[in-house]
């Protein structure tokens, strides 16, 4: 037992019951990882509370014995957010998976944190309502995880991300106290906006135990189109063109050739593997408006050298395309043993220069990088296929990514658009925030969690990476 006093263990077992408080090796291994490559660490204990009260009691015990607590939803994050690097308790919330209330008068949905994102969609859509955030991991991810990371999705361009749909929260503080923020309110300026502060707080400030979400009416129709390009830059430019033409599609996704090929290998749906890039463009709303937008978008694509545009003829076909896009990351992992994905985000108008820069950087460091992403949001996922066992190569990969981050910031962007900081981006956070920004955030953390119990080792790095100097010759 590394750091957990046996007394604390006894108390936790008495509280939760033996079945929901595990310290056998199998359980420790099973909760030692998330979807982040090359990151794994064993906790000392796995706790599975059934309600807010139990979460609060766990926190009281943990704070009495000063034990770190790492909250976990489905463990699909890509920033090592749930890897217990300091040991301690992994607090698994998937037993708290009830939908508590649908308020059709106020158009809100109140849920426990362990509800799966996809289940929320199914539940509200049956009632003609709509919860837009749809991270690609939505069949697995939990709403608690989505909120704690402020997750985005394929519909982010038009509808925004998780942060735009959280109206109120219930959360447990490190000392076990239970707070409530916001409510079924469209307006609320009573004090600081704690709701927004907890969204994206990565389990470092409080444990979210209930959330009230904003719903909107479900759009009448949805259409999806593929636009194919023989030239990468032309595809990237089209993204900015569409937006400059004052059309906001629901979805505007970019997929490069390398990614198209693996996705097509996974799901044979007839994607063109000979194209340099494709755009997946979706629009929803009233029939007439959607048809008009789609026609106009197709026109813009053609003007920008699209070789072909193809409209999905049925909802099933549209869903197939979207599912294929969602599998991009995992499908890329077929190519090499280790897959590292990044999340660089730039202002929309800078998508083309960013994609070009990524290509140059990959060539410069001799690493294989495929790029896909929510191009309409300026949120790209350059993904590197490598082999963790080849240390020399992994080092070049790291250098390449550092240069990509630096380039993103130079273009007015950020190091992560939606995947969070966790462990993997922590060394770069200061690049984005500056020293004063980091200090302020650390003070906020201290105010919530003076003993640094919640998800320690995340967000704030011991050391900031030295800023790389971009080789100007490489990015013209």
């Amino acid at each position: 037992m590394r750091m957990l006093a046996s007394q604390a263990k006894t108390e936790l077992k008495a509280l939760l019951g033996e079945a929901y408080c595990l310290d056998k090796p199998e359980a420790l291994v099973a909760y030692s990882y998330d979807a982040t490559p090359m990151q794994q660490a064993l906790p000392d204990l796995v706790a599975m509370p059934k309600d807010t009260q139990e979460v609060s009691e766990v926190m009281k015990i943990a704070s009495r014995y000063k034990i770190p607590v790492i909250t976990r939803g489905a463990g699909t994050n890509l920033c090592a957010g749930t890897v217990p690097v300091t040991g301690g308790i992994v607090l698994v919330l998937n037993r708290m998976n009830r939908i508590l209330e649908l308020d059709e008068q106020n158009l809100t949905l109140t849920v426990q944190p362990g509800v799966r994102t996809k289940d929320i969609h199914a539940y509200v859509e049956e009632k003609g309502l709509f919860y837009p955030p749809d991270p690609s991991s939505m069949t697995v991810s939990t709403i608690g995880g989505n909120i704690a990371l402020g997750s985005g999705g394929l519909r982010g361009l038009k509808y925004g991300t998780t942060k735009d749909y959280v109206l109120g929260l219930e959360a447990v503080l490190p000392n076990g106290e239970i707070i409530r923020t916001g409510g079924k309110l469209m307006k609320d300026v009573a004090g600081y906006d704690l709701t927004k502060l907890l969204v994206g707080s990565e389990g470092t400030l409080a444990i979210i135990t209930e959330a009230t979400l904003k719903l909107i009416p479900k759009p009448a129709v949805q259409r999806v189109m593929l636009a194919m390009f023989a030239d990468l830059t032309a595809a990237a430019k089209t993204v900015s063109e569409i937006i400059a033409n004052r059309i906001i599609p629901a979805t505007l996704e970019f997929i490069d050739q390398g990614t198209i090929r693996v996705v097509e290998a996974f799901k044979l749906i007839g994607l063109p593997t000979d194209m340099a890039a494709i755009l997946v463009i979706g629009q929803d709303g009233e029939q007439e408006a959607v048809e008009r937008d789609m026609a106009k978008i197709a026109e813009i694509c053609r003007q920008n050298q699209a070789v072909q545009t193809r409209l999905a003829h049925s909802d099933a076909e549209a869903e197939e395309v979207m599912t294929a896009r969602r599998s991009a990351l995992a499908a890329l992992s077929r190519l090499r043993p280790t897959t590292i994905l990044e999340d660089a985000t730039v202002p929309r108008a800078q998508v083309a220069p960013m994609i070009e820069a990524i290509q140059h950087i990959a060539e410069k460091y001799r690493v294989q990088i495929c790029t896909f992403g929510h191009a309409g949001d300026g949120n790209l996922h350059p993904t590197c296929m490598t082999d963790a066992r080849d240390h020399a190569e992994v080092e070049r990969v790291e250098q390449a990514f550092e240069e990509i981050f630096a380039k993103a910031i130079e273009l007015g962007g950020t190091i992560t658009g939606e995947h969070g900081v966790g462990i993997v981006k922590a060394p770069y956070l200061e690049w984005k925030l500056g020293r004063a920004g980091i200090e302020l955030m650390k003070n906020i953390k201290r105010a919530f969690d003076p003993d640094n119990l919640l998800n320690p080792g995340k967000m704030f790095a011991k050391e900031t990476r030295k800023r790389v100097v971009i080789d100007r010759a490489a990015d013209r």
């Binding site: 090796p25 291994v29 099973a30 463990g75 037993r95 697995v140 990351l329 995992a330 992992s333």
Partner: protein, 433 residues
């Protein structure tokens, strides 16, 4: 050899590393849905295997339990974007376990009877079939039931006794010969894989399969030297035995010079189609295994390729279909059985909610993991009963037995019958004549 070392030897480390831990497989996994426990999910099991290979954990009792709780249904495979061959990893793990670990006595007994003494010996199976028939017909079964002798068996085995179909000791080759010529225009030469238990417990289904194939225009050969496919062996860690059986089958069908090899049991077909992987490391057999694997087809594929089964007498019934996991996840036969059912005149086809989820049968899983199997079956029967179907069709003998058990348990007898797809089609065919 110790289990740890054995695992390090049998597990394909590259394949373990191919899992990128996205978790996309979890919603498809029955044991994860039942428990919500990461270790009982495909991602968790792969992580456990890798942890053992990495020396992060010992393969303790919890590890063994977790590996046997897995149904081996492979629902996690088609949904895995990274293309991880979970079934292979599981078999590799079970092979290592089978070679080094002692099971409890009753599991050992079942395994030894089934794997070593019965399945590989077709004549013993026929003899057992005749015994069973005698037991069922002579009044012995009634006597046994009357004196409640079955009380000696655990409940789930008792139930199996109740739903066993009538045994049959007549080999398929005796019933129809070793060659049945095509009717009408000839489409090709099919080798009929009769299966081991299949030919005893589901003799009529085999006869019907041959008839349907011949009617669809295939010359049907039934090589008498063929044997058990080895699937139950492979799934339970007896891969070396499975390899020996595979070689016997390859030899038999090569000699018969067939264009296709027809299977009417998803559980068998999936392994037959993976003989190439099973014998991958065997230089001498690799090529022949490839020849064999590439020819295996499910009966529903062959029938649909021939334009379906016509003409059929109308069946004025509500029909639903529970898929076979290995047919879908192993052989990638997804819609063919439904399409055949939908084409039956007069029948109303109602889709079964979650027809792609394991019924809990899973080879001998329902015998050795009665609890989890029972939970899955109960859920399945709730969905089945909601279809209000008169006929529940399946395409694998194990599933068929499990569905019969389910109907029995849910008290749906008299309202619903479970049948093999082939028997349903054959009956409609006969009535037309």
């Amino acid at each position: 050899m110790q289990l740890t070392d054995k695992l390090k030897q049998t597990l394909d480390y590259e394949e373990l590393s191919n899992c990128m831990r996205c978790g996309f497989c979890q919603p498809a996994c029955p044991t994860f849905r039942e428990t919500g426990y990461e270790a009982a999910s495909p991602r968790g099991r792969i992580a456990l295997m890798k942890a053992v290979a990495d020396g992060l954990m010992e393969p303790d009792q919890d590890f063994l339990d977790q590996m046997s709780l897995c149904l081996g249904c492979r629902a996690c495979e088609p949904v895995c974007p990274a293309g991880v061959h979970y079934g292979q990893l599981l078999e590799q793990t079970r092979e290592a376990i089978a070679e080094t670990v002692r099971h409890p006595w009753w599991v050992r007994m079942i395994r030894s009877i089934v794997f070593t003494h019965l399945l590989p010996h077709q004549h013993r199976l026929y003899r057992a079939g005749r015994l069973l028939r005698f037991y069922q017909r002579s009044g012995l079964q009634k006597l046994v039931r009357r004196f409640k002798l079955l009380k000696l068996l655990p409940a789930h085995l008792r139930e199996m006794e109740a739903i066993l179909p009538e045994g049959n000791g007549t080999p398929l080759t005796e019933a129809v010969g070793t060659f049945v010529p095509a009717e009408g225009e000839r489409r090709g030469r099919v080798g009929m894989f009769r299966g081991c238990i299949m030919d005893v417990m589901f003799h009529d289904t085999n006869v019907n399969t041959v008839k349907l194939l011949a009617r669809a225009g295939y010359d049907v050969v039934i090589p008498p030297e063929q044997t058990c496919c080895g699937a139950l062996h492979a799934h339970s860690g007896e891969r070396p035995q499975a390899r020996e059986l595979a070689k016997r089958n390859i030899r038999a069908f090569q000699a018969a010079e067939v264009d296709y090899i027809a299977s009417n049991a998803g559980g068998c077909g999936a392994l037959l189609q993976e003989y190439d992987m099973l014998l991958e490391d065997d230089r001498e057999w690799r090529e022949a295994a490839g020849w064999f694997a590439s020819r295996v087809r499910d009966i529903s594929e062959l029938l649909l390729d021939a334009g379906g089964v016509t003409p059929l007498a109308p069946i004025q019934r509500r029909i639903t279909y529970q898929g076979s996991c290995h047919l879908r996840n192993g052989m990638h036969v997804t819609t063919q059985p439904q399409r055949l059912l939908q084409a039956i005149p007069g029948a109303e086809y109602v889709p079964l909610f979650e027809a792609d989820r394991c019924c809990g049968s899973a080879g001998i899983y329902n015998l050795v993991q009665p609890q989890m199997a029972g939970r899955l079956l109960q859920e399945k029967m709730e969905h089945v009963s909601r279809t209000k179907a008169d006929i529940l069709a399946t395409s694998n003998p194990g599933c068929l037995l499990q569905m019969k058990a389910g109907i029995h348990r849910a008290g749906l007898e008299g309202r619903m019958t479970a049948v093999h797809l082939v028997d349903l089609l054959a009956e409609a065919c006969r009535e037309k004549e």
